[in-house]
C-alpha cells in the first residue's frame, strides 16, 4: 500500500468507527445500568433507518435524523415501561427472551410497513460529493461522520460525568444494589437510560442511510457487531466502546486494504477472543461488583418425573403414525437434548453460552466428515461424531471458564463464530457455504419410524444422563460454584476444573444432538453452527424456565411446534411467534415449567 492508500483506508476506518460507536454506546449504557442483554438494539437501529428514509422523503434528510432518533427513543420508552419494567424481578436473562421477541415483531413490522425491497435513502444534502485527499476522492459525508463520532462521545462523557443524572447512571453501573439502597429511584433511571440508548441506536440508523440501504437483514448483523464492540471495550464503559469501535473498524479497513478481505467475515470475533483471553473485562472495563444476596433458586427436580410415562407414549407413536408426526418429533427430541445440554451449563453451572451451536455443529460436522471423508459406517459416525464437539468444548471451555457472566457468554460466541467461519470457508473439507449432502442413515435405520426410534432412545438416554449428573456429587459441586465461587473454593472445590468439566459434558451432548440432526436431514451446512442456532437454544431454555430441569424440554417442544405450525398458518409468522413469546414472558416469567408448578 502506498502512503496515500494507507491514509485513505485509515479515514475509511474512522468513518466506520463512528457509526459503530453510535450504536454500541447506547447498548453499553443499557447493559451497564440495567444488565439487560438488549437483543433488539439492532432492530432499533433498523427502525431508525426505515423511519429516516421514510421521513426524509417528506421533511428532508437533515430534519429526518433527529426525528427518527426521537421516535425510536419514544419507542424505547414505551417498550421499557410496558414490557421490561414488568420483568426486572424475573429470573436472569428473561429480559433477553423479551427483547428477542421484540426483534421478531419489529422485523415483520418493517416488512409490513415498508415492503420487502431495499430502500436506498437520499444522499445528505450539502455533503453529496467527495473531497480530494492525497489525490483520491473521499466522501464528504464520511468526513462529517468522522467528526460526529467524537462529538457524540464528548457529549455523552459530559452527560455522564457532569450531570447529576449521569452520576447516578455511573453509580448504578458500578453497583446497582448499593445505588438502590441509597434511595435512588431505579425505575426511572432504568427507563431514562433505555430511552437514551434506544435514541442513540435510532440516531445511528438514521445517520447510516446515506451510506447503506434500509433492509431487513440489518437487525441481527448490527446487534452482533455492537455487542462485540461493547464487550471488547468493557461493559458500561463509553470510552471503552469508542476505543473498541476504532480498533475493530480500522482492522477491518486494513484487512480490505491489504487484500485479506475474507478475514472481515470474522475479524471482530477474532479481536474479541484475543482481547477477552488477555483482558477478561475488556479493554477499559472494570471487574463488576458481585451481585449480592440473589443466589439462583434450587433446581426443581420433581418436574422431571412426568417424563417416564411420557416416554412410553412417545415410544408407542410409530405404531399409530408413520407420517409427519415422526419427522416433527425427531426435530423436537434433537432440540430437547440440545436445549438440556445448554441448560446443564446455564442452569446448573451458571455459565451462559451464546455460542452453544458450536458444539451442535461440531457434532454434526464430525459425524458427516467421518462418513464422507473417512468412510466410516453411519452407526459408528453417529457415536464418534460428538467427540469433535467434546474436543471443541475442551479447547474453548478452557479459556471461557477463566471469565464470568456476560464476558464468558461473549467469548463462547466468539469461538462459535470462528468455528462457523472455518466451516464456511474451508470448501475442500466442509463444503463451504453449501455444506455437505448425502448423509442418510444406514438402511436399517432408513425409515422414518426406525430413525425416530433411535433418536428417541439416544436423546432420552442423553437427557437422563445429564439430569443424573446434575443430581450427582459432581452436580452439587457444580451448583456450588454457580452460587458462590468463593465459598466453593474455600471448601476445596477446584472451581475452574469443575466448570471446565461441565463445559465438556455439555458440549458432548450438544454434539450428540448435532450428529442425530445431521442424519435426520441428510445434509448439513454452516447454519448448524450459526448464531441463530445458538439463539434458538437459548430461547428454548428460557421459554421453558431456567429453574426447572424439565423446562428446556418443554421449551424445545413448544418452540419447534410453534415454528412449524405458525409458519404454515400465518403470513407474518415471525411476528406471531414474537407475540406469543411476549405473552408467555409477561404471564409466566418462570417459564412453562413454572406454569406447571403453579397449576399443581
Amino acid at each position: 500500500m502506498s502512503e496515500a492508500a494507507v491514509l485513505l483506508q485509515f479515514l475509511n476506518g474512522l468513518a466506520g468507527a463512528s457509526s459503530l460507536f453510535l450504536v454500541a454506546a447506547g447498548l453499553s449504557l443499557i447493559f451497564g445500568v440495567s444488565r439487560i442483554v438488549n437483543f433488539a438494539h439492532g432492530s432499533l437501529y433498523m427502525l431508525g433507518m426505515y423511519l429516516a428514509v421514510w421521513l426524509s422523503a417528506r421533511v428532508g434528510f437533515w430534519l429526518s435524523v433527529p426525528l427518527a432518533a426521537a421516535a425510536v427513543g419514544a419507542f424505547g420508552l414505551l417498550a421499557e415501561i410496558l414490557l421490561l419494567r414488568r420483568i426486572y424481578r424475573a429470573p436472569e436473562l428473561l429480559q433477553l427472551l423479551a427483547t428477542f421477541a421484540l426483534v421478531l415483531v419489529i422485523k415483520d413490522f418493517a416488512l409490513w410497513a415498508w415492503g420487502p425491497e431495499d430502500l436506498l435513502g437520499p444522499r445528505a444534502p450539502g455533503l453529496t460529493g467527495a473531497v480530494d485527499i492525497a489525490g483520491r476522492r473521499f466522501p464528504a459525508y464520511d468526513l462529517f461522520l468522522i467528526a460526529l463520532g467524537p462529538m457524540v462521545f464528548v457529549a455523552l462523557h459530559f452527560l455522564l460525568s457532569k450531570t447529576r443524572w449521569g452520576i447516578l447512571v455511573r453509580a448504578a453501573t458500578e453497583d446497582r444494589e448499593m445505588t438502590g439502597a441509597l434511595g435512588v429511584n431505579q425505575r426511572w433511571l432504568f427507563t431514562g437510560v433505555f430511552m437514551l440508548g434506544a435514541a442513540l441506536a435510532g440516531l445511528g440508523g438514521a445517520l447510516a442511510i446515506p451510506r447503506e440501504p434500509a433492509n431487513l437483514e440489518l437487525d441481527l448483523a448490527v446487534v452482533s457487531d455492537a455487542f462485540v464492540v461493547v464487550v471488547v471495550g468493557g461493559l458500561g464503559s463509553i470510552p471503552g466502546a469508542f476505543l473498541a469501535a476504532l480498533l475493530i473498524a480500522e482492522i477491518k479497513a486494513f484487512c480490505i486494504g491489504l487484500g485479506y478481505s475474507k478475514l472481515t467475515l470474522v475479524a471482530e470475533f477474532i479481536v474479541m477472543a484475543v482481547v477477552l483471553v488477555l483482558r477478561p473485562w475488556g479493554l477499559l472495563g472494570r471487574r463488576p461488583a458481585e451481585a449480592r444476596g440473589t443466589p439462583n433458586a434450587a433446581l426443581d427436580f420433581a418436574s422431571a418425573k412426568i417424563f417416564l410415562p411420557l416416554l412410553v407414549v412417545l415410544a408407542l407413536i410409530p405404531v399409530f403414525s408413520g407420517g409427519y408426526a415422526l419427522v416433527l418429533l425427531t426435530d423436537v427430541l434433537v432440540f430437547a437434548l440440545f436445549a438440556v445440554s445448554l441448560h446443564f451449563l446455564l442452569g446448573a453451572g451458571g455459565m451462559v453460552s451464546f455460542g452453544h451451536a458450536a458444539y451442535f455443529g461440531l457434532g454434526a460436522y464430525g459425524a458427516a466428515l467421518l462418513v464422507l471423508r473417512a468412510g466410516l459406517p453411519m452407526e459408528l459416525a453417529l457415536i464418534l461424531g460428538p467427540l469433535a464437539a467434546a474436543a471443541g468444548a475442551a479447547l474453548f471451555g478452557w479459556f471461557c471458564v477463566r471469565l464470568s457472566g456476560i464476558y464468558l457468554a461473549m467469548l463462547t460466541l466468539a469461538f462459535a463464530q470462528i468455528v462457523w467461519s472455518i466451516a464456511f470457508q474451508w470448501d475442500g473439507m466442509t463444503g463451504g457455504s453449501n455444506g455437505l449432502v448425502g448423509l442418510w442413515p444406514a438402511s436399517w435405520l432408513g425409515s422414518r419410524g426406525a430413525y425416530y426410534g433411535a433418536t428417541l432412545m439416544l436423546c432420552a438416554l442423553g437427557i437422563a444422563a445429564l439430569w443424573r449428573i446434575v443430581a450427582s456429587p459432581f452436580g452439587h459441586a457444580l451448583r456450588s460454584t454457580r452460587d458462590s465461587p468463593l465459598r466453593a473454593e474455600a471448601i476445596g472445590i477446584n472451581v475452574r476444573a469443575q466448570q471446565w468439566t461441565a463445559f465438556i459434558v455439555a458440549g458432548s451432548f450438544a454434539g450428540l444432538a448435532g450428529s442425530l440432526y445431521a442424519f435426520s436431514k441428510g445434509s448439513i451446512s454452516p447454519e448448524t453452527l450459526s448464531v441463530p442456532r445458538s439463539v434458538d437454544a437459548l430461547v428454548m431454555v428460557l421459554l421453558g424456565g431456567v429453574q426447572s430441569l424439565a423446562g428446556p424440554v418443554w421449551g424445545a417442544a413448544l418452540f419447534t411446534w410453534l415454528e412449524d405450525s405458525v409458519s404454515r398458518e400465518v403470513a407474518y409468522w415471525r411476528a406471531a411467534i414474537g407475540a406469543v413469546i411476549l405473552l408467555l414472558v409477561l404471564a409466566f416469567p418462570q417459564g412453562i415449567a413454572g406454569l406447571f408448578k403453579r397449576l399443581r
Binding site: L8, G13, D108, P116, D118, A130, G259, G438, K521, R568
Partner: protein, 391 residues
Amino acid sequence: MKYFIFVLLVLSAGVNAQTIKIGELNSYKVFAAFLEPYKKGMELALEEINAAGGVEGRKLELVVRDDGGTPGDAVRVAEELIVRERVHVLMGTFASNVGLAVANLANQRKILFLASEPLTDKIVWENGNRYTFRLRPSTYMQTAMLIPEAAKLNKRRWAIVYPNYEYGQSATASFKNLLAKAQPGVEFVAEQAPALGKIEAGAVVQALAEAKPDAIFSSLFAADLQKFVREGNTRGLFRNTVVLNLLAGEPEYLDPLKDETPQGWWVTGYPWSEIDTPEHKRFRDAYQKRWKDYPRQGSVVGYTAVYSVANAVRKAKSADTEKLVEALKGLQMQTPFGPIVWRALDHQSTMGAYVGQLSQKNGKGTMINWRYVDGASVQPSEREIRALRKE
C-alpha cells in the same frame, strides 16, 4: 336419469379429489424482495392453467410453505409436504444450500423436485440426481453470458469483487477461467470478497481503485450492490473503469438504485418494459392486469416453474414421479422468454437471460443494448458435464 346424475356427482367428486398438488417451499420472509413477485407469478400461472381446464382433466393445486431460510427447516417442511400433504412434486427454494438440501431429500424420498431459483452449479452437476431439475440459468451460465462482452472490451487488468459464499466464489472462478481462455494474457490484479450483506463499501472501493484496474467483474447484489454503487459513484471508481455485474439488471436489484444507476455497466437481467415478443407481451399484460404491478425476474421464474410442472404432467399423462422424471427430460415448452428445453443430460432448463448495459431514464435504472442469450449456448461440453455428474 337420477342414477346418471348420481354417477356424474361421484365422478366429479373423484376428479376434485385428484388435483395435482405442487408442494412449493421457499424463504418467503428472508428473500421477500424476490419471492413476493415470484409468488404472484406462480398464482397467475395456476389461475390460467385451471381456467383452461387444468391438465389431463385435473386441477392444479399449490401448497405453499415458508422454509424458514435454513436447510434443516426446509427439509422438515419438505417432509411435511411429502408425507402429510402427499404432493406430487416439490418445487421452489432460493438459497443454494437450501436447494441442495431439498434436492438431496428428493433423491432419498424419490420425489420430483423442480428447483426454480437456486443458482448453484452443483445442484445439476456435482450433486445432481435423478429427481432434481433446475429452471434458472446457473451461476456458470450467467457468467458465461458476459464473457463475450468482457473479451470484446479487450481490457488487460481486471479486478474482481464478489460476496464471500459459494455463488460469488464460483462466479469468480468461472469468470477467471473462461476469460483467460477467451483472452489470453489477461491479468487479475485485485480480488475483494466481502461477507454477504456486510460489505465495507468505502474500503472495498478504495482498495479496488488502488489496484488501478481497467475493468471490474462483480457478482454483488442487493444491499451490497447498492452500497458499492453509491461509494463507487462518490469516489469516482467507475469513471474510467468498465464494470460487469451479474444479476444487476434484474428489477429486484436494479430498481432500488434509481438515480444512482451507473451508466454503461454490462449486466445480466430482465428489461421487462422493453421486451416486445408476443409471448412476453402476453405474459406482461396478464401479469399487470392481475396484480396492478409490473413483473420482476421472480415473477417470470414462478410463472414458468408452474407451467413446467403442468407441461410435464401433460407429456407424462400422469402425475407419477418416475413418469414425470422421464417426461421432463427433453421437454420443450414456451415461456415468456421464448422456447426452452429441459436438458436430459443434466436436468438444466435452457432458460436464458438478457445481457445488456445499464442506463438511466427519468431517474430510474433501465437496460439498453440488450439481447437475449439462450441458455443452451452457454454450456460446457457434454463430456465435461458427464464428468461432473460422475456418469
